[in-house]
């Protein structure tokens, strides 16, 4: 039998203060009963003697100092889990909202989780074939990785995430199948609906757990949403040996909720008003990706975040980039050109790909192709900026080849379309054909032996209808000669 406290001492934004509380423990859950009989959940975020500060998840609307009864629940925030959660829809705080009733819980798990011991981790090596060339070849997704999509407003990050879910295949399958945990944080109803419909169309709905905190839902609940989602993911991965892909969108809204909460608590702000512990807080989400030695399943994360004003140095993408193992960056310029997916190659990176590609995983020549594509495309950018000053006609012969390569690369390699699913062989062969547009001497990242095996200029000429420099000159002469 637990004590109930009548009344509150102070209400400030999402926080309420309660005095003369006995035996409160840090991070404990509380239940607040309003006048109209509804209950709300809250969490103790600070204790000073007998005075406790409680964060109310569903907001403090219509609470008053006298009409509220508070009860301590005696445990930290927990999520009831069982295998039944597959196919269900929950609120951001883990309550079922699909009208199918409560979960018959097998157990309750602390949503904060515990850090996975580095010695118990398995280093991720198995690549996930997404069927998207720009990801498979250049920023390979590895099972157990956390690879965010850095996007901006108006960019098709949601389509890309859906395409990944639709097409993802793992090379081998020791675990008992594949599941998706989807968490929406502050996204619109339309976006959540788009994901639900797409999962249905892809035929994976019974393998999806959804946590929805939409943009009109209480902001403090948003802070719990990814934690609930990851707890569900860990449960399915580490107790039921499933391979779980966690997609959560939008991390920027999550961080804004955190900022709002922090400022109402009166904390000293760090960069752009975000709390000083933003790094640690984000890390406590992202680091929950991985593979444990004690289970066969895995947790792979694709967080989606929109960069305010497309600024990659904004604290949210910046701190994220320092924690995650690479990033897939989308570019509005490519999008405007009609390229889908508009993956900006140069700032994109997968840190784990080096150990998950090559002989035995993808193909022996994979790292050679991807390194050379990166180097060549980086040079294309230099040539482009030069072109904007002196014009394309003044370029040297080699640089003109690079311009040609850059155009073909964007048109054929990056731009692949929502419905095209390319195998890794197709992707790598296409990479080679594109590289063969360039003179052999320019391909300085590749071992001679490999180069001899794959370089095929004729094929490139035939496939892309290239016109050789020599031919142009002959034609020009033919015209002059009349």
């Amino acid at each position: 039998m637990s004590l109930q406290y009548i009344g509150l001492n102070e209400i400030n934004g999402p926080l309420v203060v309660l005095d003369h509380v006995q035996n409160a423990s840090y991070d404990e859950m509380v239940e607040l009963k309003c006048k109209d009989g509804t209950t709300r959940l809250g969490r103790i975020v600070q204790i000073e003697g007998e005075r406790v500060i409680i964060q109310v998840f569903e907001g403090t609307n219509s609470l008053s100092l006298s009409n509220t009864k508070t009860r301590l629940l005696g445990h930290p925030m927990e999520l009831p889990v069982s295998k039944e959660i597959l196919g269900r829809v929950f609120s951001g705080a883990g309550k079922p909202i699909d009208g199918l009733g409560e979960i018959y819980a097998e157990k309750s798990m602390d949503i904060n989780g515990l850090p996975l011991n580095p010695v118990s981790r398995v280093y991720p090596r198995n690549y996930i074939n997404t069927g998207i060339s720009s990801i498979d070849c250049l920023t390979t997704l590895i099972r157990g990785q956390k690879l965010p999509i850095f996007s901006g407003s108006g960019l098709p990050h949601n389509q890309l995430a859906v395409q990944i879910v639709k097409q993802a295949k793992v090379a081998d399958d020791e675990g008992k199948g594949f599941g998706v945990v989807f968490a929406a944080m502050g996204v619109t109803n339309d976006v959540a609906e788009y994901f639900r419909r797409s999962f249905e169309e892809a035929g994976v709905m019974e393998r999806v757990v959804m946590f929805l905190n939409l943009s009109n839902d209480p902001i403090i609940e948003r802070i719990l949403t990814p934690k609930c989602a990851l707890t569900a993911a860990e449960y399915l991965a580490f107790e039921h040996d499933m391979h779980i892909l966690v997609i959560y969108t939008d991390v920027t809204s999550y961080c804004e909720a955190l900022r709002e909460f922090s400022s109402s608590k009166g904390e000293i702000p760090g960069r752009k008003g975000y709390p000083g512990y933003l790094y640690s807080d984000l890390a406590s989400l992202y680091e929950r990706a991985g593979i444990s030695k004690s289970a066969k399943g895995s947790v792979t994360q694709i967080p989606i975040l929109t960069m305010p004003n497309n600024d990659i140095t904004h604290p949210v993408p910046d701190l994220t980039g320092y924690i995650t193992e690479g990033q897939i960056t989308l570019d509005s310029e490519l999008n405007a050109m009609g390229v889908y997916p508009p993956v900006s190659i140069l700032p994109s990176l997968s840190r784990l790909m080096k150990d998950g590609i090559g002989e035995g995983y993808t193909r022996a020549d994979h790292s050679a192709v991807s390194n050379q594509l990166f180097a060549a495309y980086a040079h294309v950018q230099d040539v482009k900026s030069l072109t904007s000053v002196i014009g394309e006609d003044e370029l040297s012969t080699v640089d003109r080849k690079y311009m040609e390569f850059g155009r073909l690369f964007e048109k054929h390699f990056i731009n692949q379309g929502f419905d095209t699913n390319r195998s890794i062989e197709e992707t790598l062969d296409l990479g080679w054909t594109l590289l063969s547009v360039l003179p052999k001497g320019e391909l300085d990242r590749i071992d001679n032996a490999v180069l001899e095996q794959f370089y095929d200029h004729e094929k490139a000429v035939a496939q892309f209808n290239l016109v050789e420099e020599g031919t142009i000159r002959e034609l020009q002469q033919a015209v002059q000669n009349g």
Binding site: S280, E287, S396
Partner: protein, 582 residues
Amino acid sequence: MENVIYSINGPVVTVKDTDDFSMLEMVYVGNARLIGEVISIKKEFTTIQVYETTTGLQPGEPVYSTGQPISVTLGPGILRNIFDGIERPLEEIAKDAGAFIPIGSHVAPLDKDKLWDVTLTVKVGDQLKGGDIYATIPETDLITHKCMVSPYLKGEVVEVKENGQYKIDDVIMKLKDEKGQIIDFTLTQKWPIKQARPVHKRLPISMPLITGQRVIDTLFPIAKGGTAAIPGGFGTGKTMTQHQLAKWCDADIIVYVGCGERGNEMTQVLEEFRELIDPKSNKPLTDRTVLIANTSNMPVAAREASIYTGVTLAEYYRDMGYHVAIMADSTSRWAEALREISGRLEEMPAEEGFPAYLPSRLSQFYERAGYMDNLNGTKGSVTIIGAVSPQGADFSEPVTQNTKRFVRTFWALDKALAYARHYFAINWNQSYSEYIPDLERWFNKNVDSKFLRDRQELQSILAEETKLMEIVKLMGSDVLPDDQKLIIEIAKLIRVGYLQQNAFHPDDTYVPLEKQLKMMEVILYLNKRGKEIVSANKPIRLIMDTGIFDKVVKMKYDVPNNNLDLFDNYYKDIDEAIASIR
């Protein structure tokens, strides 16, 4: 009166109205006995930072004093081990508690049951002072562990055990000090992590730390006992650089501190180092390595301690006469831990929310590096290589700027180079090393007097190129006269063929100084012959067309490290190519 918790805010708890605690003392907090440290004492409140998550803690739970500062246990068994930020062995925790790290686990840092082969090196009647060695133990196949008298103790040996097998807590020797008190000595000692271990004196820097990485050894060398910082935005290869250095540098012992970084990365270090063989001794690299892993999701206060734990272990092995290198990845996370705790204490922030004492903490850390004459007469060094993760890759932020004041080697990683997959992405215009004058004698004596001269020439060409590129960016390279085109081409050769190094290529991942010198010589020879062509008013395109540049650029792959005579062929090839033009 029992001391009890008054308030809790994240990792910070306070105790009211007590004077039982001293500053920086280690305390146990709550019924779970979480480890904490006293960080401020006021008349009314004593503030404690807790090294574990405080979920479930209640006001009124007890706080126990230990009377000691936060210390580490030093003794055999440190090498090959992996610890968290406060020296708890992660392997043991995993055996005890499974895959996840529970709250309040209490595991002894070193294995108490393992028997070590101890050879005692003192006899009854010997006078010993602080730092003197009284026993040796083969800790791994590579490293002999030396048990030393704790720095501030001295006395006469009154009892010595036979050589034989002992556990770490067995008493193997007794000293009688000046006051006639008997002190027991086991295989271990304790040392507070925030206090530097004393030495006899600091020695001048004189040897390079050889890493086998061309851009470092040649252009921006670091000395044994020196300090270096690697700043870079995310994805520029800080961690890769640290891994390469940990694998290949010629220190005797590596302390690798993963401070607030990724869990998968630490797993990778663990796996890779077990498989990798040290080229000099043919033993696994783990035999000379100790890892400290405090990943970003482990408690923030222990992250702050991990850097000090690492450097204390390094100093302990230095006192035995070893050259130790400590890699700290990343010091920015450590600075952020300071900021986070400072914010919870509601201290007045200085720049960007960092506490005002950030520079002094940084300097205290970097000043623990050095080449030292130890108390026992041996000589050893601690080299500190710290990664810095500047926010938004902006080097003007406080951690990078303050670090720059205290380190003498600066390897600035460049996003543009990393985007082009040029590794190491060390920008040759922004980086520097102040150790070159100190190391001049060593290079002249042990490599060749040509080495530093060639280095200077390489750097001049690169500097020249940077200036020319300004013009090229505006008007294209066609407008340049041929002598400047040659500089551009040679600089490209240096960048691609020399500075860029492939960590995954069996030969290119480690390049001995001798090969570095020979490569420089070939490049500079080509430069010399190229200038002859230019001064004979022949266009530079003719040399390019011979394909000699394409051949020289690949010499890093084509010449194996064990057959450097092949370099002679390149002179022939260059001569032939030049001759074919005339």
